[in-house]
Symmetry: C2
Subunit: 188 residues, 2 copies
């Protein structure tokens, strides 16, 4: 096991509407001193949902300001204070797709670029869906719903439009659990 | 196809050593107006490498300031100006593991949280390794090398210590291409 560096000092470099950047002053166990910038997490966690309805999974396509493009992925969102992961998953699923699930299964937690970002997200499988929309009132435009057949799931893995690392991890985790993967005969 | 929002205005909110945050003033095709904050990408791209040596893949465990923890993952890094993805992959692999590869294969590109971040990373498979260390001189401590048997790859997918979404996506892409995945009989 590695001994964590000692945090000699830490401070907020900047705090904007969505981003809080900290500076850490660290002393490693071998005596080396370093300064690092990192982005602090949101605090209450976040959830990404893989919704399954019959023999289809439900994807959303929406505008993403980071890449200035429309991206295909799974519904997701940050937890509000006091929410369980199930409550966050259900609220976000209802807001983004109009469905609620009778059954939520925790898959795993993942992080993104941990050298710089603190945040992690819980990947969740949602099954037994029923229509139960929840209006947020704050979307600039309706989110497009895209249905994808489970029998064609390997094509989704290689689709260039489905390119968020967390979505690929979520799909793989769900596919492993539920046996959706049909690998090409050549690699079995 | 969706029509991209019109960018009415954009400006830098803050620019630190590692983070550049922009504010976009957008007009959606339906007339809705929104402001978004996003983090601009590094500019020259980045590469994550899945190195394979014989019947093992090579992982690194290093301190990550974002999560303030030691994390298990793949070597990676940003491209320097003028580098091809092969050159970046080779330099980062040599710096972090001490190996160079005779063969680099582009797997795919992924992004992370595209609602907020512009950056993407190229996932690359590295094969036919030979010892050829390259010292950076700027690491606070040696990076730990971890070897993982390809015959046990499904355990790596579910290991909680292997938890970066981009690493999971890279491993899946490499495993699909090279046929390392042995799915449990129950899901075939």
């Amino acid at each position: 096991m590695h001994e964590l560096p000692q945090i000699l000092d830490r401070g907020i470099v900047v705090d904007t509407e969505h981003f809080r950047i900290e500076r850490l002053h660290l002393k490693f166990s071998n005596g080396q001193i370093r300064y690092y910038e990192r982005m602090a997490g949101g605090g209450s966690g976040a959830v990404m949902i893989v919704p399954v309805m019959g023999d289809e999974i439900i994807l959303v396509r929406e505008y993403c300001a980071g890449t200035n493009s429309y991206e295909l992925g799974f519904p997701k969102g940050k937890s509000e204070s006091g929410e369980s992961w199930q409550q966050t998953a259900d609220r976000e699923l209802r807001e983004e797709t109009g469905y609620s699930a009778m059954k939520y299964t925790f898959l795993r937690s993942v992080n993104s670029a941990p050298s710089f970002f603190e945040a992690s997200i819980d990947l969740v499988l949602a099954e037994d869906l029923e229509e139960k929309p929840l209006d947020t009132g704050d979307e600039p435009e309706p989110i497009e719903i895209v249905r994808w057949s489970l029998s064609n799931i390997s094509a989704l893995f290689s689709d260039p439009a489905f390119r968020e690392a967390r979505c690929l991890a979520a799909l793989f985790a769900a596919a492993s659990l539920r046996g959706w993967l049909r690998l090409p005969a050549s690699i079995l």
